[in-house]
């Protein structure tokens, strides 16, 4: 059984450096062991292992993969699609890029296990346009897998196990990381989200039941099947198994990608030499933005005892999200920071629904008033109302998470907002709706 000290997702990175698409080298390092094992198992037993493993979706939503897989398994219909979301676009996140670059076959193996389990014939990987150079390498990995009969017709010599994977390119739209927008994009439409329900497990790609999982989640699937659900759970905590790829950026000494056990003390990740190594600027660290622009913010000073795990972060109203940890020192004003976040969302709102299209711009304008210290009494209330408006009325997950960081920023550092209001001016009383 694997121990907590062993990396599982990055284990092959160094050994495959010469050619990450080499199937023989991959197989020597336990590659495809999981697929070979999966085809000997009862399909429901695979689902049971997933439940035991408690793999939470690594794209950011943290939805248990076991539940997602079981609901697709129970969906009626002969045609089902497997889709890998490789449209990594949360600023501060580059862990899917690392997997695609250094161990693409691990992702292909996970997608192939899904193909087997659901009797799917076609899988898709939707890779972000900015990762263009990785498309070629991934295409080569697919070709090598085909040559070795791990894709194509009668995979592993099993009659009727026919499955292949196609690469679809994204083209620079953050919203396409939203599953239904991604499916629309594959269908050759503009990538705007669909109104849900129906859920994608029932009505997905080309209206067929569809599984959409993140790159890291698919790589984890291979680990779970190979090592067993209990071993995977043991790598993390009782509320979420496995290791997590994290991306440290901002004002820490050792920026970069790390594989960590869920359950590692947060301060270790930020301050220990093994990981972040503390402040790179000599100034005290002030706050951490978790999981991408759509995630919450935590004040470093309040997180001394925080454990980096799903439940550990929930205790502080935080979340793991994509695994991004943007760590900033006390030179950064929360108002400046959130203004930058709001500009991102204004730019990336797809424009389909009004609360997000207009609301992101209104929020940005208000935050810019605070940034320029020309806010007037009443602006804070308007900002908060607008935030509620966007969060509650937007149709998709993107719109509903626009204000996550702002909610926490306002709560943690209210003085910085108060200080930006010119109390000498007349109160703003705007009727918003």
């Amino acid at each position: 059984m694997i121990t907590r000290e062993q990396p599982v997702l990055t284990a092959r990175f160094d050994a495959l450096k010469a050619d990450p698409t080499n199937v023989a080298a991959f197989c020597e390092l336990a590659g495809y062991d999981a697929l070979k094992k999966a085809v000997t198992m009862e399909k429901t037993a695979i689902l049971d292992e997933l439940d035991t493993a408690l793999l939470r979706g690594r794209g950011g939503a943290a939805y248990p993969a076991g539940k997602k897989w079981r609901s697709l398994y129970q969906s009626a219909g002969d045609t089902k699609y497997i889709v890998c979301n490789a449209d990594e676009g949360e600023p501060g996140t580059f862990k899917d890029k690392a997997l695609l670059m250094s161990d693409p076959l691990a992702v292909i193996e996970g997608m192939t296990i899904a193909g087997y389990l659901f009797g799917a014939r076609q899988g898709y990987i939707y890779m972000r346009g900015e990762y263009r150079s990785l498309h070629r390498q991934f295409a080569q990995a697919l070709a090598h897998a085909r040559q070795a009969n791990f894709l194509g017709e009668n995979i592993l010599g099993i009659a009727g196990f026919n499955y292949d994977i196609r690469i679809i390119s994204g083209a620079g739209a953050y919203v396409c990381g939203e599953s239904s927008a991604l499916l629309n994009s594959i269908e050759g439409k503009t990538g705007r989200p669909r109104v849900k329900p129906p859920h994608l497990a029932e009505v997905g790609l080309y209206l067929k039941p569809t599984l959409v999982n993140n790159v890291e989640s698919f790589a984890d699937i291979s680990v779970i099947v190979r090592e067993g659900g209990a071993a995977f759970l043991n790598l993390g905590t009782k509320d979420g198994g496995g290791t997590k790829l994290i991306c440290l950026t901002g004002h820490v000494k050792n920026r970069g990608l790390y594989e960590v056990n869920l359950g590692t003390p947060l301060y270790d990740l930020i301050y220990s030499d093994q990981y972040g190594g503390g402040s790179s600027t000599g100034r005290p660290l002030k706050f951490i933005h978790f999981g991408g622009q759509s995630g919450p913010i935590g004040a470093v000073a309040q997180l001394k005892d925080c454990i980096y795990s799903y439940d550990g972060l929930w205790d502080y109203d935080l979340s793991i999200g994509s695994g991004a940890l943007v760590v900033l020192d006390d030179s950064v004003s929360i108002v400046d920071y959130l203004t930058s976040v709001s500009q991102f969302f204004t730019h990336e709102s797809c424009g389909k629904c009004t609360p997000c299209r207009i609301g992101t711009l209104r929020i940005q304008e208000l935050l810019e008033k605070f940034q320029q210290k020309i806010a007037v009494p009443g602006d804070l209330e308007v900002l908060k109302s607008m935030m509620t408006h966007v969060t509650q009325l937007s149709a998709c997950g993107l719109g509903r998470s626009v204000t996550t960081s702002m909610e926490s920023g306002l709560k943690l550092f209210p003085d910085e907002f108060a200080a930006a209001i010119n109390q000498q001016t007349a109160e703003q009383r705007e009727v918003m709706w």
Binding site: P91, F94, A171, G188, Q293
Partner: protein, 168 residues
Amino acid sequence: MERVISMANITTDEKIAIINRYHANPEQALNILIDLQFTSSDGYIDQATAQLVAAHLGVTETRIYEMVSFYAILKEAPQARYVMKICNSAPCHFSGEQIVSHELEEILDIQEGQMTHDGLFMYHSIPCVGACAQAPFIKIKDRVFANLTADDVAQLISDLRAGRYPEL
């Protein structure tokens, strides 16, 4: 018959070859458009090309333009010889990325999205290219020039002018 149309360096036959590489499959519209754009020295999708793709994929020209205008990577206007991408998202912004944009504006006398008069340079802010741990950086095609100082930026521009990176 080969006929050169305004995406200067690719012929219609070459464009059709790119479309057919993806079996003229509408699913692959983005792949096709991106390949066409980056095969062209002008780095954009002109109307004749949009019409050609629409005809071969069996979709309307409007649908193609909807994609070109929706997806940030696809461009409707000619691009410079060297398109420099920087990141303006929070992780990079607060890791010194303004040093790069400031230096580019100083040296090249252009604002974001503008082309230098000689057609050599322009820069775009992209919200995240996945090089967050290398900020401040400039990305040109697939190459990331990482951890730049103002001097590095100046050096890079003069190297590019001198033709030191013909592959970019």
